[in-house]
Symmetry: C2
Subunit: 215 residues, 2 copies
């Protein structure tokens, strides 16, 4: 089940690609610049002795991916996704894009904007908002969780399964609107990074049932 | 260094008192009803074979505590704290009170309301917003963190030291305004509790330096 990563040549997209390919999933990196997509794919394959990563345009990635991950930068992410609406229709679209700067002023999250723009044509979930590119690119490290938001429990569970196929624990955080909290929390984590002089803090949810007994 | 817990007879206050007394700190539980304060203090002492917990009115607790913890319920917490302004002047006041329901609409957190009401007469920090009474009352369990917010780094560190004297890790989360995120996150944690059928989820910050190397 090939995963397409839109805007996949950034650090966050590369980290997701690495984790997927390292576990045997085929990944298509989409980029505004197909040539750049191919070049980064070659680099990633070399890093993990794989041939599972390919690179191309966002349009071809969206068309050929069975599941869509989006690490498109916040400025312009809606315009690009809207152009790809036909290619991603009927698919699970998991967006990691966060509104920047984060706001606690009642403004919708980037994920809510995306869901509205796609008008129900794709199944939209949000995930990875609090996960730094540094954590994704480090295949070891202290185990952090990925909060997953979607209005439909079924969509949340699909997205959790995708997250878990990367060796990370996905935790259902509730409806898409709550992505606002994950965005704001990312702002707090960046502040914590500064205070403690570190680069990649994340969160883990304590008090959950042991793995394997998800709802 | 005696710790007074205002509104300390609720489940959250009891949990904090237990953790402090179990580590040798004297605790005064303040209550609207001094008699209730005394009764709960007796119960807590019995649970941990201690005599370190005493109970009284909020006023006497505020007067006699060297450090003040507040677990006052959200409705009325500002009125009570304002009445105790003289008793808590010049002291560290760590509030666990959260605005309910949590809002992401740009409204100040309960802690910001408190700081404004006290007009700089006390050193105000926020902590324990994401920590459930269930976690506090369980002296074992998966280790969760306590986010600590205050405008002054010195006040944050004082509050972190208080948290750590209870055997919990305190993590500086930044200025008091960011308590809004901790309040909103508590709303998400309650949602996670429902989804997973558990009672006391919390958070842990990953990627921090090892304990003992705080900033």
């Amino acid at each position: 089940m090939t995963v397409a990563i839109l805007g996949g040549t950034g650090k966050e997209g590369q980290g997701l690609a690495l984790r997927l390919a390292a576990r045997g999933r085929s990944v298509i990196l989409g980029s505004r610049d197909a040539e750049k997509g191919r070049a980064i794919a070659t680099e990633l394959n070399a890093r993990i002795s794989s041939s599972l990563v390919t690179g191309t345009s966002n349009l071809e990635a969206a068309r050929d991916g069975v599941v869509i991950l989006s690490t498109l930068p916040y400025p312009g992410h809606i315009e690009i996704a809207t152009e790809l609406k036909d290619q991603i229709a009927g698919k699970l679209v998991v967006t990691a894009t966060i509104r920047w700067p984060p706001s606690l002023d009642g403004v919708p999250s980037a994920a809510e904007d995306l869901a509205r723009a796609l008008e129900g044509s794709s199944r939209v979930a949000a995930a990875f908002q609090t996960v730094s590119a540094g954590s994704l690119n480090r295949l070891d490290g202290e185990s952090e969780d990925v909060l997953v938001f979607a209005d439909s429990p079924g969509t949340r569970r699909e997205a959790v399964a995708l997250v878990e196929s990367m060796g990370l624990r996905g935790v259902e955080g509730g409806p898409l609107e709550k992505t606002r909290v994950a965005e704001a929390l990312t702002g707090v984590l960046l502040g914590i990074n500064k205070i403690y002089g570190v680069k990649s803090t994340g969160i883990r949810i304590t008090g959950l049932p042991a793995r394997g007994s998800s709802p």
